[in-house]
């Protein structure tokens, strides 16, 4: 077990820099998710930690060692690739035994360890099979098994669940999380799926275009996104954004869009009165009522999307569009008028530079 420290990490392919001065510390035993849209540099960073890509600038430390010039085999890490990279000509057993053999573990210990891990992952009856005789989910487990037999300092996962169907993915999500709670090995888990990141990780790194956008607890990212990108990336359905202006003064602050949609704004945002800003409000933070009441704003329901446990409503007022989510059943029909009220404590404002505006305490 070990902490992983990345300092000012840079990666360039020729003249194009794909990773710009990324720094972060993954503490011993932590499960950190690296999340961001496709092409943002997640795999590149993970592969640099693994030693599979050269380092253009900066430093990587695993435990107490700077590993910049260390071969992958000497870093004491295990990795699970998106395509599992099982050895097709080896049985499940030999796939899992391979890293132990390479590290000169005595034969009887290999037998014991492989049997133990196979038991944990429910692979015991498949030990004699070849990878092509296994289902996708079983292959995924073998790849996991090969990683955990080694008892490495760090697990590196590169989108290990993205080739599974939705149901299996949810199941494996829980299994991996459980496995981590049991083994407590430092883990870096790459995914493009924010739900995966939110549900599994102790801490999340949000990346965009080779930059680290925010690093924090899942709920911290959800409650106080540092910028509009993180706000839009974390949470599902995604946060609503409205362009407008904060008007009035303390006691009567309002946010008004160009088309005239108006919401009251809490006093702690008095400092931005008069400024053009973007209002961010999550669908689950919009209260909806069938009748008008004080401070509520009328708006037209244009689409209803029920899922059973909750329903999403697409609301329209002129050119302004919002999505609201309400738990349980409700009988707001398309075309009808409802009254909405954004929860004042859950409003987010972003400046012209897309950075979050921090309210006065």
């Amino acid at each position: 077990m070990a902490q992983v420290k990345v300092s000012d990490l840079k990666k360039a392919y020729g003249a194009t820099e794909v990773l710009h001065n990324v720094s972060l510390v993954v503490e011993d035993g932590q499960f950190v998710a690296l999340v961001g849209p496709s092409g943002c540099g997640k795999s590149t960073m993970l592969r640099m930690i693994a030693g599979l890509e050269s380092i253009t600038g900066g430093e990587i430390e695993i435990g107490d060692d700077v590993v910049n010039d260390m071969q992958p085999k000497d870093r004491d890490i295990a990795m699970v690739f998106q395509n599992y990279a099982l050895y097709p000509n080896k049985t499940v057993k030999n796939n899992m035994a391979f890293p132990l053999r390479m590290n000169r573990v005595p034969r009887d210990q290999i037998e014991k360890k492989v049997a133990e891990v196979a038991e944990i992952l429910g692979l015991t009856e498949y030990l004699g099979r070849y990878p092509k005789q296994l289902s996708g989910g079983q292959r995924q487990r073998v790849a996991m098994g090969r990683a955990i037999v080694r008892d490495p300092k760090v697990f590196l996962f590169d989108e290990p669940l993205s080739n599974l169907d939705a149901k299996l993915r949810v199941k494996m999500r829980a299994e991996i999380k459980e496995l981590h709670q049991r083994l407590k090995t430092t883990t870096i888990f790459v995914t493009h799926d924010q739900v995966e990141a939110m549900t599994m990780a102790d801490k999340i790194v949000v990346m965009r275009d080779g930059n680290l956008e925010q690093f924090g607890d899942p709920l911290e990212l959800y409650d106080s996104p540092a910028n509009k990108f993180v706000a839009s990336f974390i949470g599902s359905p995604a946060m609503n954004f409205l362009e407008g202006k904060v008007e009035g003064k303390k006691g009567g602050l309002t946010f008004v869009t160009a088309a005239g949609l108006t919401f009251p704004v809490p006093d702690k945002y008095a400092a931005i009165a008069g400024q053009s800003v973007t209002l961010g409000i999550r669908p689950e933070h919009i209260e909806m009522e069938g009748e008008g009441s004080d401070g509520a704003v009328p708006i037209t329901v244009s689409v209803v999307e029920p899922t059973g446990s909750e329903a999403a409503f697409v609301l329209r007022s002129g050119p302004d569009e919002l999505v609201a989510v309400k738990r349980g059943r409700s009988n707001f029909a398309p075309g009808s008028t409802v009254w909405i009220r954004p929860e004042p404590d859950n409003m987010h404002f972003f400046g012209a530079d897309e950075q979050a505006i921090v309210p006065a305490a």
Binding site: Q71, P72, F81, A85, P88, F98, P99, M102, R146
Partner: protein
């Protein structure tokens, strides 16, 4: 006509065409074999389709003669060294071309193919001069080296195709699992490319065994002839020992035949590998 009948008819025609084609391909071999068994009765007209007095005399003469065994040994030397050189060099070259994608490797990947556009006849004269200066003229090693330079580009390309199909992650996994880069290659990647390697070995061997043009040009003394060159010497100025020549020819085709039978499984797997996605 019912469709069933029609289908059957099409099948029959198809089989007939295939058989006819096989017969055309097979007949020269049969004729070669029949003539070798014929013995002295070969000089009859019209020729016998089936040997009049089948016997192994010509084989005996050829095998116990003091030239054919030497030529066979020479052919075997050239074939196995070409096969070995090509395998060893193309394993490394093909791996580099497949895995290290830099401007230089891309350039070489292209230029290797370019060498295939030069006919052997075009470079055989300069080759002759160079080999003479290097003291490689009239030596079997010289023939092997020259031929290797012709076969190597093909085997490198072939093997590169095999390496290209092995996901690079498998090798990287091996590197994480405790292998050095070279170790990962020899322990994991190369075994997965085994069908390709077998194809390359067979290709080299057969090319070496069959070689005539370079061997004829780069060797002079009869003791340094390979079998393909030696075969032509049965065709004397005044007489042609047809039966002995055919017996030698039968012997000549045997190794290729055995080799193909032995590695057919790999060859089919190897040639099919391009079209199959696992």
């Amino acid at each position: 006509m019912s469709t069933l009948f029609k289908n059957r008819l099409i099948n029959l025609v198809w089989i007939a065409v295939t058989l006819a084609f096989a017969a055309v391909v097979f007949f020269p071999y049969y004729w070669m074999f029949a003539s070798a068994l014929e013995g002295s009765s070969i000089y009859q007209f019209p020729p016998n389709l089936w040997p009049a007095e089948p016997n192994l005399d010509s084989f005996w003469t050829v095998i116990t003669g003091n030239q054919v065994p030497v030529w066979m040994k020479n052919s075997f030397f050239v074939a196995s060294t070409v096969s070995l050189f090509c395998a060893v060099i193309s394993i490394n070259g093909a791996y580099a071309l497949s895995r290290f994608k830099t401007g230089a490797t891309r350039f070489f990947t292209g230029i290797i193919l370019f060498t295939q556009m030069l006919p052997a006849a075009l470079i055989v004269v300069p080759l002759f001069v160079i080999f003479q200066q290097l003291g490689l003229y009239d030596s079997l090693t010289g023939v092997s080296i020259a031929l290797t330079s012709f076969i190597l580009p093909v085997s490198t390309w072939l093997l590169k195709g095999f390496f290209d199909q092995i996901p690079v992650e498998i090798e990287q996994q091996a590197m994480i699992d405790g292998c050095s880069r070279l170790g990962a290659f020899y322990r994991v990647t190369l075994p997965l490319a085994l069908p390709g390697l077998v194809v390359v070995i067979v290709l080299g061997f057969i090319a070496g065994w069959d070689e005539f043009f370079l061997a004829r040009t780069l060797t002079a003394s009869q003791d340094n002839w390979v079998l393909a060159v030696g075969l032509t010497s049965f065709q004397g100025e005044y007489t042609i020992e047809w039966n002995e020549m055919m017996a030698a020819a039968v012997i000549f085709t045997m190794p290729a035949l055995f080799f193909f039978m032995f590695v057919q499984r790999y060859l089919v797997a190897g040639l099919a590998a391009g079209g199959v996605k696992d």
